[in-house]
Symmetry: C2
Subunit: 412 residues, 2 copies
């Protein structure tokens, strides 16, 4: 390296894509708090306090509520490989990109993976899920709650009861949805749920909240028998041990639990950030935050329709916090997104898989689920659409959004 660069100095961005999004200012402040030692009384108290905060976020009494030190994907993998025994049947209903991810992780965990699919833009009727459960008789159902690739929100309310009736463990990936849509870990009968900070929780990627039912903990404990030296070297037939040390929830539970057994060195700054994400959510009130996402999501939805854009997918089952719109004929999608970024400092999202090049995804999450962010985005998008010759209705997106905000306050 010839010249050493200066301190990090990011450009100002309003992140209105499907995530990561702009963090709450207080979360960024928390990230720079001084470090303490791993077993400092302040550290262990902060870990315990953070667990309690996340019980509030997840709406659970689960003792086993904690953080995995990695991105949301680390939480998914920790949950799945700790619950799946090699050869277990795992059912993964796929309604977007992240269903495929769950299936792939289950496959790598040597599960017998069964998938069912609906076209992108739809969710599964509960009866279809129950039929598949009856047919496959899986050990584990792994189901995404909100898939940002399609913006769809899979209803989960009735699934836990079905799983319990059929003796199936129920795991959900709530990365994209938690904090911006209803989530009731206990009332919905979840055995495991994971998330990340970089969506509706309004923090940086790098810490994965997880909660586990007592039943899930029992299974994990029953597999936590492998310690260095106990297995014979080369005993590759041992069917039941977790292939990962880093994601072995049996060990991680003992690190977060009263035994405080040393495992990894906790990512202290990420812990501070994760704590603040939960704290700001609970200070505002969980229901109030979900309602704020609903109101701003509906304003954005009204706004993009006011711009003449066609919304993708089954809007009745859309997440509150993200909307996908078809890129109008003749508008160069990536060039328009670059104009949003370069001229206005506003990021909106591209898309993956079958939707690649077809839709933009626009998020209203966490700190950015607020009026000025919605209106700035709509005003900028209107300018860019007109620049590329799209037919934008005269009333435009901002007025449509304001009108939606008006009905929202009237309605409440």
């Amino acid at each position: 390296m010839t010249a050493i660069p200066g301190p990090i100095d990011p450009p100002t961005r309003l992140l209105m894509g499907p995530g990561p999004i702009s963090a709450y200012p207080s979360v960024l402040r928390a990230m720079s708090a001084p470090l303490v030692g791993q077993y400092d009384p302040f550290m262990t108290a902060t870990m315990t306090e953070t667990q309690e905060l996340y019980r509030g976020v997840w709406s659970t009494a689960n003792d086993a509520t904690l953080l995995i030190d990695g991105t949301s994907r680390a939480g998914i993998e920790a949950a799945m490989i700790s619950l799946i025994r090699p050869g277990d049947r795992v059912l993964v209903p796929v309604f977007g990109r992240f269903g495929h991810l769950l299936a792939e992780i289950a496959e790598r965990a040597l599960a017998e993976v069964h998938t069912i699919e609906v076209p992108w833009g739809q969710v599964f009727p509960t009866s279809v899920l129950e039929d598949a459960i009856v047919r496959v008789r899986p050990a584990l159902l792994a189901l995404v709650q909100g898939d940002t690739s399609t913006t769809m929100l899979q209803p989960l309310e009735d699934i836990g009861e079905i799983c319990a009736r059929h003796g199936v463990l129920f795991y959900t990936d709530a990365t994209a949805s938690l904090g911006g849509n209803a989530f009731e870990a206990d009332a919905w009968g979840l055995d495991a749920a994971t998330a990340g900070l970089q969506k509706c929780l309004g923090g940086p990627s790098g810490s994965a909240p997880i909660t586990l039912s007592e039943r899930a903990v029992e299974i994990i404990r029953s597999r936590a028998k492998v310690e260095a030296g106990i297995r014979e070297p080369g005993d590759v037939d041992a069917p039941d041990f977790v292939r990962s040390n880093y994601f072995d929830l049996g060990m991680i539970l003992d690190y977060w639990g009263p035994r405080r057994l040393n495992h990894h060195t906790e990512a202290t700054s990420m812990l501070y950030g994760a704590r603040e994400c939960a704290r700001v959510l609970l200070l505002e009130g969980r229901d109030a935050v979900i309602e704020r996402h609903r109101i701003n999501g509906e304003a954005m939805l009204a706004g993009v329709r006011g711009l003449g854009l066609v919304v993708f997918g089954d809007v009745a089952h859309k997440m509150s916090n993200v909307v996908a719109v078809e890129i109008p004929e003749g508008v160069p999608g990536d060039v328009a997104r670059a104009a949003m970024l370069n001229d206005f400092g506003i990021e909106i999202g591209t898309s993956f898989g079958p939707l690649h090049g077809r839709v933009w995804r626009i998020g209203t999450m966490g700190y950015n689920a607020r009026t000025d962010a919605v209106l700035q985005t709509l005003a900028a998008l209107e300018t860019v659409l007109r620049r590329f010759g799209a037919a934008v209705p005269v009333a435009g997106g901002v007025e449509a959004a304001l009108s939606a905000y008006g009905s929202a306050s009237d309605g409440d």
Copy 2:
């Protein structure tokens, strides 16, 4: 939760244990920089820039130099499970706690693990390592450079040549040592090396620098064939695929490389912090930072001897950045450590395994490898030792350290 707690407000600590340690102030500032999107030109440029900074830290031209999103243990697991095929022979020389960790991770990766051991407080003579390599004929040698559990620094200079001669991949865990002791990834013939930020690099735990030789990358690429849907469900006999999605370096290399294929959502704040750790190191100069660790480590060593404490282990093979001292007869080790923390805000370390209750470990790392931190620690420790009736020589630790600093500056 009845009352929601206030913003995070950690007590002031001088972290003089074996790590984690107090971060450089500029690293903490970097942690709170605003977020940008995952494919923002600023983000990808920052990733590329950080790779180049870490080539300087590792002393390598390896293209495959990047960060794993997790703690140092995540880096270890990513390297090992991506390089080890099930059934591979792996040789792990164990000279402390972290050798056992490497053996356990190799075992979970279904390796045929062979360990050799020396008593805690010693390192392996090169000839012993070569003999074991000839006997075991492993596919991979996994060797810790610096093991904080014993404070020992395994010499690595000649091992790479031996490995190359015998066709053995050479991996080292440099978590505790990198940045405070010499490290030459290319000159020493490393195929893979991993670290963390929370030791001599002076940052928070949560990001793991890794560097991989071309030979290691070839092996990883040859295993990166498994994508969703390519394997048949239930095909548990496929011998060669990596069991983890999160730690599949084949995919992670394509995320950091020119293809920029989406994998996890990069932990942006940890990236900023990791970048700043490398930046401050290279600004000061890699050799200058290593020399600063040497000078302050020698001052601490002289200081604890000046306090009448007996140093544990083979001092000629000690890491610069940590010293272990026997707890004097009659001094209650944990009570004395608590007094250091509560009265002075200074943390020193306890110990594990065979050394538990026998030694304290005192670090001088990263930002805290500096005179005032060394002298504060020695002065506080002297007071505490006297309080518990230890026989402290009249001249004491601070004067001994100052005298060592004096010789250090004379000598240079």
